[in-house]
Symmetry: C2
Subunit: 448 residues, 2 copies
């Protein structure tokens, strides 16, 4: 296979019964699937049958507002993906977890174990949690601001990497005759003392198949990009526009280079939602079917979350214009900019805006025939905007199955996506090396 051109990386971002807020109202959707393990097993099997790199789950440690309007990711993603390790054999398993509302020993321990029980398929999508309401579930007086969250995240990752480096690969001797199970010299204490954490270590878990889980990072803010360039091995980003995605791509790869890292070892995966039809008209009709089922109460709550503005009293059928954002920093900057731009370049009623936003929620949307969807993927891949995509099926399992059945064969015909797995670990799928013990510490020290 060495004659193959550069290969796409494709994950399935699996959100309850689909990313689209109205997916649950489609006739084919089973609303009980939200908490049904058989539903998630089925999704994992479909994704693995497509030889995707990984399945990917979000984390929301709080019940979001307007839960009456749509299902949400109701299961703890880490527990869910650990359970799915038992019914899959090759596909990567990526769970999101927060550095703000966890402790580093617990996280390092759980992900090292996941890497063992999945035989090298664990990935951790590192987030600092954007939902301010989560603070109240963890005893915090208020949700820390982004600068504080990212400072904690960086120290959290330093501790986690140190814990994952507790064990030399050959520390377990297993000498029955001599009565020596491990070589104590192969175990490294951590003794970290920092501003946020004090952790002695070592981890009680021998080094895992991948050395450590693959580190994903999601978040496109300035501190998010900085964290990603330092630590991330794969990046999930919301990029609706090709040109912006190219700028982001070059920016992050350049930053990584400045930290002494090989930019090819950071896999950039924008989100991609899609509505597929046999013809362009059918695809548009498919998207409209979803949009016709949206509930304005939900869209208004989302719009308020992103912009800080309450449009409840605005007539749904009157034109609406979202003002530009005053501050530059903050959690929802890029999505605010998006709705500002949308309503500045077109005249949209509030209802039209809400429907428009429902489809991608800030991510790139491809609506069209399988060939058209594949063409979008290839365009971004070949024009310096993406190393692949986090696929965001609007409905589950339907849209995922359609993508596997109809788009993947086109990408395979172009020799841009694997026919079968060539390795067994997530690192192998993503073309990432297994790190040596202490490797990151050396590179981080060199960069400081």
């Amino acid at each position: 296979m060495s004659a193959n051109p550069r290969q796409l990386h494709l994950n399935a971002f699996l959100r309850n019964v689909g990313q689209h807020e109205a997916a649950w109202r489609l006739p084919e959707t089973d609303v009980a699937a939200v908490t049904d393990i058989e539903h998630y097993r089925n999704l994992a099997r479909i994704a693995e049958s497509g030889k995707l790199d990984a399945i990917f789950f979000a984390d929301h440690p709080v019940l979001k507002e307007r839960s009456q309007d749509r299902p949400w990711d109701a299961l703890d993603p880490f527990t869910l993906i650990a359970a799915l390790s038992g019914v899959t054999s090759h596909i990567g398993l990526v769970a999101t977890a927060s550095t703000t509302y966890n402790d580093p020993y617990g996280i390092a321990r759980r992900f090292a174990t996941l890497d063992h029980v999945s035989r090298g398929r664990a990935g951790w999508n590192v987030v600092t949690t954007a939902n301010a309401e989560a603070a109240a579930n963890f005893g915090f007086e208020h949700h820390p601001d982004p600068a504080e969250r990212y400072a904690r995240a960086a120290e959290f990752l330093d501790v986690a990497y140190g814990l994952w480096d507790s064990w030399e690969d050959d520390a377990i001797v297993g000498d029955k005759e001599g009565g020596v199970f491990v070589d104590p010299d192969g175990i490294n204490r951590l003794d970290h003392v920092g501003r946020h954490f004090k952790v002695a270590g070592p981890l009680e878990i021998p080094r895992s198949p991948q050395g450590r889980p693959v580190i994903f990072q999601a978040g496109s803010s300035e501190p998010g990009k900085e964290l990603a360039a330092r630590y991330a091995e794969a990046i999930f980003t919301a990029q609706p526009v090709l040109k912006d995605a190219q700028v982001f791509y070059a920016d992050v790869k350049g930053r990584a280079r400045s930290f002494g890292r090989d930019p090819d070892k950071i896999v950039i995966l924008p989100g991609l939602s899609f509505f597929i039809g046999g013809t362009e008209e059918e695809a548009n009709a498919r998207q409209e079917t979803f949009e016709n089922l949206t509930l304005p109460t939900y869209g208004l709550a989302q719009l308020r979350r992103v912009t800080g503005i309450d449009f409840t009293d605005h007539d749904l059928d009157d034109p609406v214009r979202i003002p530009a954002r005053a501050e530059v920093a903050g959690d929802h900057k890029s999505r605010h900019d998006l709705v500002h731009r949308l309503t500045s370049t077109e005249t949209l009623t509030l209802r039209q805006l809400l429907r428009r936003l429902s489809a991608g929620r800030g991510h790139r949307i491809a609506t069209g025939t399988p060939d058209q969807v594949a063409a979008t993927i290839v365009e971004w891949f070949e024009q310096g905007a993406a190393d692949g995509f986090n696929l965001i099926p609007p409905s589950l399992p339907t849209s995922l199955q359609t993508f596997v059945d109809e788009v993947l064969p086109i990408l395979r015909a172009k020799r841009l996506f694997r026919e079968d797995y060539e390795g067994t670990t997530l690192r192998e799928h993503l073309g990432l090396d297994r790190p040596a013990v202490g490797e990151r510490n050396r590179f981080a020290a060199a960069a400081e």
Copy 2:
């Protein structure tokens, strides 16, 4: 099956390659199994083939001393048991987790999810963590004393129960036509503010199949018994002597009654280790095989942990006498009492003592033919000492397979243990009712 007499409950307590410190040195033991998911899948399948109530894992969030002398429980038990949910269908899944080194929202969330993904097979063995060294992995200046740990545990459980009661069973409406996914009146906020925790809730997870995981408690100290009598639905206790076990049994059931609880709904399960042979001589030889492979360095470290006394300079072949314990409270009282009693009633050399202690580590040991082991089980079960046992195989998978193959048929012939599962949830296996929302809050309030 209603004509059956009262039924035994039997769990398999699965510790790496076996509870016995020398199990790893047996010729048949695969030392790589310690972190190998296929080993644990095999154990789960053996236990499920025996129709046991549950498999049960310990929690040690710290690398213990003398790791060079023997394997330990090297994987995070929660992650491991979540992974095993995918390869089993009926057997209960009990993971130990600490209320000292976790936060209640995270624990409530993970166990509720485990109950969903296992379709009602989750159990949580609540501990306050006895390993003082764990504190240094979680930023604590020192390990809290037992009174402090148990006060935190009680509030932790109050919060967890409150979070598991966040959702009425019928809160999910799923009305596609009307656009109502959940009934907001079916969701209960918690708004807990206490001495240790401040947790708003609700949990973002709809109510799980069992309502909440089955609550196990391990710990036989005074505050441990009090916590157990208030909250526990099953109790794991170390009781080497029938008479003491009877006292413990009556004590806990009596305390539960005083809290307004039905004592039949608290299942008491002493630990039981066993060495089985075709004849009594073979069984004794089997036990001796283990004891001959013990390493005194390990036994000495354990003895120091329990008694606080360092016998490193004591000649292994000189008689030893362990003084009585001064204080009454503390973490290792019952085990200290045990070694004190052992060395007061018999003259044992230090080597003999270490070998004797290696077999059960404070638990009841049955050594003999399958009939003799079964007779011990029946005796304790019928004489008010146990509702069943946490079986502690000294080597894995061997001893577990032997128990399933040779002892279970005898118990079945006496109609004391199920031929097959009659239900699908752990509560059903244990004869426990599914709690109503708010049920514990009502009983706790009545008791105060």
